[in-house]
Structure formats: C-alpha cells, structure tokens
Subunit: 394 residues, 3 copies
C-alpha cells in the first residue's frame, strides 16, 4: 500500500466483505424457512358419483388443500412441519425430523412420515399431473403416519431402499388392538433408476405388513378419482358388510419411463385380507388394481426425477407451458358376493403460468361393476366427472 490510510481502508473493506458474506449466507439458507400451497377446486359429477340423487348432476367449489410448512435446519438435522388448514380444523400432515450425518447417504427420520408406498402416492400434491391421484394410490397408501424410517440411495448401482415402522392408524384401524396394545405397520420399498439427460428408467417394488388389531377395514377404500362426490365408488363392503381384520398384507410394482417431455407411469398393487374371524368368507380375499398414465409437455419441458427420493417433480422455472395427461385406472374389491370393481378414464390438461401458479382441468368417466354395484349405485353403473383447479405455491 502507498500509505497508512490505504492500509486502513483495505482492512475495513476486508472486514465488511466478511460481514456481508455472512449476511448473504444467512439470507440464502435461513435456519427457519416457510412455504405453502393453496389449491381451490371445482368439481362437477353425475351418474354413479351422485347415485343418491338418481344420477343428476352435483357440484362443489372448495379448498382442496391449504397448507403451510415450517422448515428448520440444525447441523446434520432438518425438520419439516407441514400443516393443513380447513374450516375449523388444522391437521399435521407431516412432522419429519431427519438426520443426514452419515457419509454413506443413509438418512434416518422419525415423526409423521410419508410411508414408502406407490410412486403416485409419493409424488407431492404440488406436482401431480392430474388433479386427483389414482384409485390405486388412494387405496393402498396410508400417506403420512407416525413412526420411524431409514432410506439410502446408492449412485453407483442406482438402487434406493427405504424401510419403516409406523403406528397403523390407517384404513379404519385406530392403531391399537382390543386390549389397548399398539398395532404397527412395517413398510419397505426398493427402487432402481437409470437417468441420462434425455431418459429416465424407474423400476420399483414395495411391500407392507399391517397389524389391524381386530379393527374393521373402512368400507370406502377410494372415491373414484374425484374428491367431493356424494358416492365413493370403490367400496368393498357395498352389498355386504365391513369386516374386522387381524392384519393385511399389500405389495406393489412401479414402472416409469421418461423420454424428454414424455413421461409414462404404471403401477400394479395387491392387498390380501386376513380377517379376525377365520370363518369369514372374506378371509384371504384380495383387492387389486393398476393405473397407467402418460404425461406430455408439447413445449418440451421435462419433469425432473429425484433419484434420492425416487419420485418425479415439477419442471424447474416452468412458464407459459401446457401439459397433456391421460390415465386409465382400475381397482377391484368385489369378493364373496359384495364389493365393487371400478375403472376410470381421465383426460387432463394443465397450464403452468409460472413456477408458482398452475391451472388444471380434468374430465373423467368411471364405470362400476361387481356384486355390490347395485347396492352402491342402483341403476347408475357409470358416472362422469369434471374437475378444475387453480394452484398457488409460496
């Protein structure tokens, strides 16, 4: 330096630089951060969906999801508390405390966690390509449950495994048996993926063993891919009775292939009931289903695949883009003279105004069969529905 003043100024500038860098770091990754979503939906439906009213048309306008999340980080720990607000209620959707301090990528987590069941069910509702998930996802996934789990992704061979144990207060169980003992569910998922710039291959399988503690399996296992209908189409008890279960066992297969802006997803799942009363005609019977969906962005956008979580997301920085989607879906619960089988066809379009604002419209047709169809919906053995959504993310 030419003189003392310059030295002094240089020292001050260096100190300021450090302070500013620290402030920028804090601003970029705050210890606590927030996000959320608003989904406002319109539903219209007729036929079997509104069988109580002779199949005349019904409709509704309602907040499908209003959620806010708090995220926090501390050293190798992070936490997400995801809350859903509705008229008069607030629900903890997720409360995940996660540890990621292992070198080998292993993650341990506890709290209210998403069980690793079904690619479609594991895809965030922010990012699903149709307004409602498939009947398969709604039938087989308990979504979020209290428990603990572990998962790990291995880049070298593309394999990811997840294993968890949860309180099984899903599917009609209250999470304990007659004598007040905790009823657990054990769930695992194994996926393999191979990704290049243009292509993604995803293969997966999951299995879940669930102690039902003698509780009754809930009758209406899925709504038929439309939310606010008067009748829920997939009902294993229609024309018969609900059944108390000792346990249930369910498994599924996942296949997905992406070629640039085209994504194809297919799943199959099977559930076997072990009834509390061995002599029940429903003992050993199955519920099974599949769905096949195709999504295409005419403008060339591509859904990103997260190998670490083994799910697809929303194209980054998307703007003024259209997505076209078709899905065929089936779920069979008819057994022993009761229950319904439901097939649903859906066509959908979505317009992404920007990364935060999306408009969606879906048209669907469902047909109901099986021994319980008459009891469920009488003359109405099919139904048509329409759904629209505006979504805002923050």
């Amino acid at each position: 330096y030419a003189n003392e003043t310059e030295q002094d100024l240089a020292a001050q500038v260096a100190k300021l630089s450090e302070q500013v860098a620290e402030l920028q770091k804090q601003a970029d990754s705050p210890a606590i951060s927030f996000s959320g979503r608003v989904q406002l939906d319109y539903n219209w439906f007729n036929g079997a969906y509104n069988a109580n009213e002779n199949g005349s048309s019904g409709s509704d306008l309602f907040p499908r999801r209003v959620r806010a999340a708090i995220d926090s980080e501390f050293e190798h720990w992070d936490h997400t508390l995801l809350l859903e607000f509705a008229e008069g209620t607030a629900e903890i959707i997720m409360a995940r405390v996660r540890y990621s301090g292992f070198d080998n990528g292993l993650r341990l987590q506890f709290g209210k966690l998403r069980e690793d069941i079904s690619l479609n069910a594991l895809t965030s509702s922010n990012n699903i390509s149709l307004i409602e998930r498939s009947s398969l996802a709604d039938t087989f996934s308990p979504y979020f449950r209290w428990g603990a789990s572990a998962y790990q992704y291995n880049k070298d061979n593309g394999l990811r495994w997840a294993l968890g144990v949860y309180k099984n207060d899903a599917f009609g169980s209250d999470g304990e048996d007659d004598s007040g003992k905790l009823a657990l569910a054990y769930t695992g998922r194994l996926t393999w993926s191979k990704t290049s710039a243009d292509q993604v291959w995803h293969l997966g399988a999951w299995h879940s063993e669930r102690d039902m503690g003698g509780n009754e399996l809930a009758a209406r296992v899925a709504r038929g891919e439309l939310r606010e209908t008067a009748v829920r189409l997939v009902d294993y008890a229609a024309g018969g009775d609900v059944v108390a279960l000792d346990s249930l066992r369910q498994s599924g297969l996942e296949l997905a292939y992406q070629l640039r802006s085209l994504t194809v997803e297919a799943e199959y799942a099977l559930r076997t009931l072990k009834t509390f009363d061995n002599s029940s005609l429903l003992d050993g019977t199955d519920h099974s289903g599949y769905h096949l969906s195709v999504s295409f962005f005419p403008g060339g956008q591509q859904r990103p695949y997260s190998a670490g979580s083994a799910v697809f997301g929303q194209p980054k920085d998307i703007r003024n883009a259209w997505e076209l989607v078709a899905r065929v879906s089936q779920l069979d619960t008819a057994n022993a003279g009761q229950g319904t089988d439901v097939t649903t066809y859906t066509l959908g379009g979505a317009y992404y105004l920007n990364p935060k604002v999306k408009f969606m419209a879906n048209l669907m047709h469902s047909s109901v069969s099986g021994a319980g169809q008459q009891a469920l919906s009488g003359e109405e053995d099919s139904g048509t529905g329409f759904a629209a959504r505006v979504q805002y993310l923050f």
Copy 2:
C-alpha cells in the same frame, strides 16, 4: 485514481455497495412475511342480553381474535393466508391469491375472499372504531367466502368497482341445494370517493344475489353488537319459525364524510327473502337496518382513507391518542307475526398507546321490539352492555 490500490479498493467498495443494497431490499420486502393480532375482551351485560337469567348481569373474559397471517409475493402475484386460532380450532379467515399485473389497475383474486358488502363490514377488525361492528354489518355481510372476484379503482373519476362470485355457504346455507349442486352468490359494489388533505367524501352501493338452495335461513341474524351474550337480540324467527329459502337478495347504501379528525359513517341495507315454499307468510318479507356513527380524535389524528380498497384505516404512527365514538344502529326483522326489531346506542372510547397497542371501552344500550320480542326475551325488552378490549398487533 492516484494509484492501483485505490482503484482496487474502489472496485471492492462498489461491489460491497451492490451486495448491501440487495440485502437491504430483501430485508425490506421479504418474499414471505408475517403479521397478526391478539384481542382480549371483557363483556358485561344484563336485561334482554341475559333474558334466560331474568335479566341479571352476566359477564365473560375471552380471546375475541387471535390471528396470524402469512403474506407472500411472487412477481405480480401476492397471497395472504389469515388464520384464526381458538380453543381446539383453527380457521382459515382469508386465503387470498391476487394478481395485479394489469396496467389499468385491475385486480383479479381467488380463494377465501372478503365479499364487498358494507363499509363497516369491510373495515379490518384491527381498525374498527367500536369493539363490535354494527348489526347491519353482521346481518348482511357473510364476511369471507370461497370464490373469485375482480376490482378496479380509477383515479381520474374516483370510481371503484368490485364484482365477485362465491360459494354461498353463509346465513345458514351449506353451499349446496338438495341434490348436491353448488349454490352461488353474486356480489358487486360500486363506490365513489373524493379526497383532499382535509376531507374525504365516500359514496357507495352494493348488491348481492344469493342462491340459498332450499336451506333454512339462520334465525339469529345478529347478536346486538355485543359478542358473548346469552341471547342474540336480532332474531327473525323469534316467536315463529325459521324458513327455508330459495334465494335472498340484498342491497345497501354507504355514505361517509371525513373532515380532518372527524369521521361520519352511515349505511342502510335491505334484504328480501324468497322462500322455498311459495305459500310461506315470510315470502317477500324484508329485513332492513341502518347505522350512523361518528368518530373524533381530540388530538387531531386522522383516519387514512384507502381509495383503492374504499375503506378507512388506523391513523399512521399514532401514539398516546384518544378516539371518541358514538353510534346509533337499527335492524328490523319483525314480519308476519314473528321476529324482532332492535335499536342499539353505543358510546365508545379508545386509547392508542402506540401503533401496536390499543385499549377500548364501549357502553351500549339496546331495545327490542316486534312481534317476537316476548318469545325472545319476555319481560326484558331492553338491555345494557359494557365491553372492554386490549389489542396488540404484530
């Protein structure tokens, strides 16, 4: 520059200046921000307000409003999620997603929105000059409903219009008709204002057409301007029956004049019932009411008027200031041998310690008449009330 060192330092300082400016901008308008309010109220009342107990005095201490809001901004979009918390419940008060990207000042919004009905109802509960709104506001405003609306303010001519369509799950309707079809409400408001430093003129009119879907109109249309009383004084069904409505139609007029620290507000509103059963004696009957209120700040503070929203707010940076308020209010629901007419006189004072902390006290007297008065409150045809509040904003 005299030398290289100086050049180098100057460059560093310039870069730091940019970084600091960016950090200041982020701090001043964060993408997500928070606010809220706590109102702790004391109520005391006798006479008709506590008629079940022969008019003896009753009282309560309770949280009137505990609310927190999350605000987010993204380009031309903004969102507010306003939640109210109480014992065991959480309610979405408002969930507004708004677009303001038009050059002409047009705003589009969807979500749970405040319907544009009544100047008094549209004034934020943070800023109302008396502890409770008028019976007119509580009778005619459904406050926040799910739907979509648009509004625009024209500076040149002082006109502001607002138009919205909402799910009508207000006033006793559950938002759908017998066959499960969505019941809508259409609401519009037109206001004109002229403002100078000293004066504000505000003229307004609103109208709302509401499909009631055959649902019963709730009996107790307003409480009588005190919150936690045992008896709600404005009751069109007292001494008779509630009535199922096909629809209702209601309109109102607003007038406000401000001269510096003096603000006068007056409103009139009229509702006409269209009953589900044409032969009902209540078919075509009216509910109507008015209120006139005067607010004065002896210290000279002035309530700001927002022309863009057409409502008054709280004086900015107010400190150690008193506000004196008087209101007369009437609401008539007596028709066809049933229902009550209620007149309420209120005197109020408020002390603003600072912009965040306010203390309020109100004294009120109500008289009840009409064919249903005896059925509602027997010997007690008038009542006196006192309310006090501490309010904290964050």
Copy 3:
C-alpha cells in the same frame, strides 16, 4: 487523507459499515421470530394403568407435543403466540403480550398466561428432566389461562413476586357460574433465590383462590405420570361421585437446591374444596401431595437457573451428555369413602445429543390405595409403566 479519492472511499466505507451494522442488528433480533418443538413418545403400561383389560399390557406411540411459536417485539412490548397442533385440532397454548418498560423490572402481561403455580409445572416441557411432570403439578396447575398478571424480581434481596387474575375455566369449571357470570381465579407466588457459580437455593410458596361457579370438579385430577394409559389413577370420585364446587383454595411450597450438576427439587401442595351443597360430605375435604426429585449430570453439566422467572432450564450448548433422574411422588384424594391415593416412583435417563435433540427413557411404578381403589382398578392396585421420547427443538 492523502487525497480526495481516499476521502471519498473512506466516506463510502463508513456508510457501508453503518448499513451492514443495521442489517446485522435486524438479523440478530428480528421483529418476528419462530421456534418450536416435536416430542414423539412411546408408552407401555400394565396393572392398574390398564385395569379395564385385567392389567394386561397396553402401549401407544403418539406425538406428545407438536408446537410452534411466533415471537414478536415492538419497543418495550413483546408477544409470544404458542400453538399446539394435533390430529384435527390446533390449540392456543400461550398468547402472552408483555410490557417491560418499567425501570424497576416490573413486568405486566395479559393474554393466555401460565399461572404461577408449582416449580415443576412452571418448568417448560422443553426442559423437564422426566418425560411427564409430577402428579402434583398436573393436579394443582391449570397451566395456561386467559387473564392478566404482574411480576417483579429484585436482585438485591433475591425475592420475586407474581400476581395474576384469570378466567377459571380449569379443573372442570367452564369459567362462569349458573347465571352466566365470569368466574375468576386469583393466584400469587413468592420465591426467594440465592445463586453462586456452584450453588442455587430456591424457596417458594404459592396460593390460588378459585371461583368454581357451581361447576363440578373433574374426577380424574391426574393420570399417574404416564400419558396414554387407559385408566387415570388419581381420581377423587372413584367409588363415589363428582362434586359441584363453590370454590377451591390451594397452596404450595417449593424447595430446590443445586450443587453444580446435582439438582434436587421438592414440592408440597394442598387443596381444600368448598362444595356448592354445604351438606356434602366432601365439603372442606383436602387433596394433597408432594414430590421429590433428584437430577444428576455425570458429565458435569449444570441446569441454569433463571432468577427472573424462578425456574430451571436446560444446560446451554449441551452435547453428548447424560442426565440421570429419580423421583418419588404422592397425591392423596381419598376422602369420605371415595377417591384414590397414588404413590409413584420413577427412574429416568436422558441423552442430550446436542442442544436441539434429546432422547429420554423413564421407568415408573405406581401403587393405588384409598376407599375408591377397588372401584377404579379392582384387583389391580399397582401398575408399571415405561415411556420413551425423542425430542427435537427448532
């Protein structure tokens, strides 16, 4: 300065320094901040705790506390809104608005406040050394109630006093009498403390007069120091009846001594019932109890004592530390041929991974006696329990 350029640079650097200091200040003490906790618990129990099932073992896994808090500051005011979320509900735990602008350390506060009753009850659930508080705390403390209070700590003589008036909607009262009049509780606490680097002496006494407004005192006054059991052991109505109270009066004594990593706490409390019906055999009867607990950190960590609040906290910056705890506790409610007396012994250990993550395990044994024991738990006059917790703070 050597030249103009240097002067100019120096001025710019000085301005930047100010701006950065302001940004740092904002980052260090933001106007609004957030915190929270997740406690996931496992409970196992048998004997009297599960008497309905002949004392067989029961168990549960459940979120004990999922809470988030918003803190705000404005000049001499601060506010905390502490919310608890559960399945379908949200509760305001605390909503405290506090003024601290007096020179003499006096604090005034209003909202939903923690009543100053019992050292154990006043200790934050973040910081308690056993998984559940003592039966004494759960019996005598109403925890948080709506009202107003004042407190002051005097450094010179070590005295701290607190006085409050609250709506008494605790212990079975709904907060009002038969005619709808507000029922209040008056509570005061006086403590003295003396602290040095190694030692803390804490002596305290509290008293509460509570208008019960003719409401029935809730039967199950405490669970027996385990959360999710089928039977609540401390039940003054077992084998008899609940009783409507005119009022209740209760007092307690607190003693705590800390020598470095060893902390001993002891409390005694007494409640006297004034029944609504003077001729009730329960008129003038007492509930009383005590607990004595010892906590020790083998690694030498020391619980900090806050003289201003007169409670103990969690050791600061604690890491990889163990805490060992033992407690004996008794609560007697047996009177006039009904009610139970319960003694509980608990051994506990906690492992603090870091200041945010803690693992706890407790083993406890309770014995039940008194005139109502048979009615409460039949053959099962004792029970064993085990509890485990993972806790995450954010």
